[in-house]
């Protein structure tokens, strides 16, 4: 398969994933996830 075709397939998949994410309201769902620092990220840091 030509690489141009592969690039277009990957781009189309991206569009489909984005459209699905918008229709599922996923941007609202992740608002909290984006704001908070996870326990994994702060693991082991001495706390005040």
């Amino acid at each position: 398969m030509k690489s141009n075709a592969k690039a277009f397939i990957a781009f189309s998949m991206g569009i489909i994933l984005l459209a699905t994410a918008i229709s599922e309201g996923q941007f609202g769902d992740i608002a909290d996830l984006i704001v908070e620092i996870t326990s994994s990220a702060i693991a082991g840091i001495p706390t005040p």
Binding site: S3, M13, G14, L33, S39, A41, A43, G44
Partner: protein, 303 residues
Amino acid sequence: MTWHKKGKANLTKLRLLRTFVQFIMFLLMNLSFFLIGATWLVLPVVMPKSIFTTSEGAFDLLQRMLTTAIIPLIPLASFFLIGAVFGRMFCSWGCPFGLFQDIIGFLTSRFNKYEPTKDTNDSYRQIGEFIVGGSVLVSVVIGIGIGLGDAEQVKASFGVFSEQPWTALSPATFLFTVIPLLFYWGTIDTFFSWETFVQIDIFFWIRFLIFAGGLILIIYVPRGWCRWFCPVGIIMGQLGKNSMIGVGRNISKCTHCGICEDVCPMGVRILSHPPEKVRSEHCTNCLDCVAACPEDAMEIKFL
């Protein structure tokens, strides 16, 4: 390497421009500096959540969504859309950890650098593939466990890895989250008092050792972390091989002088690739080869 004056000047200009763009991207991802709240700017770069970050790197968010039992459509869309068009361009033009590697590389430019062979590049890259596969697998297992059973029990079983398995170990998290938080919380003082110093969690030292190892690596191997271990780079490299934007070589102008290969920070053997486009999972479209070519044989190609 016999340097051409024009090529050297072009390369310096391009690297300055790239550093400027990298700083702008870093600020865009840390808009809390300007009191702006969370954004949905999910880019295929290494950017763990920290004090000032208002968006998150796609792989960090992907793990977070999987371990919360949400199908990670947004980070996947980010990978596919950006990867299909730009390839790994964000690794060199937008990634904050890439900027850190460039700064360290510049500061240690007088050191003897190790230039790995293609085989070494490919074999060490398998470690990065293992990191991607392992992190996704663990995240999926946690997500399924949380979706089907007792969330608290599953989280307790996986401990510090329960929300973002790779982010917990990533040297980028140590740099962008751990170090700023030590200052923000004021707990940096802990390191100057023996009584509190000895109480520091062992996991902190594990993270520190990984960060120190990564630092030594990038001192001696230019962009060593990007080449071999970065999960985002591994994913974007696969998409980047067939991306719409890339670099190609005009064979009527090319004299095979090899300057393009010498300046490539990722060690891509450009002359061994087809002239119409460099199809390497390591190429980050940094455009150093385009700027440095004395014959203007290297070109930006679209489709």
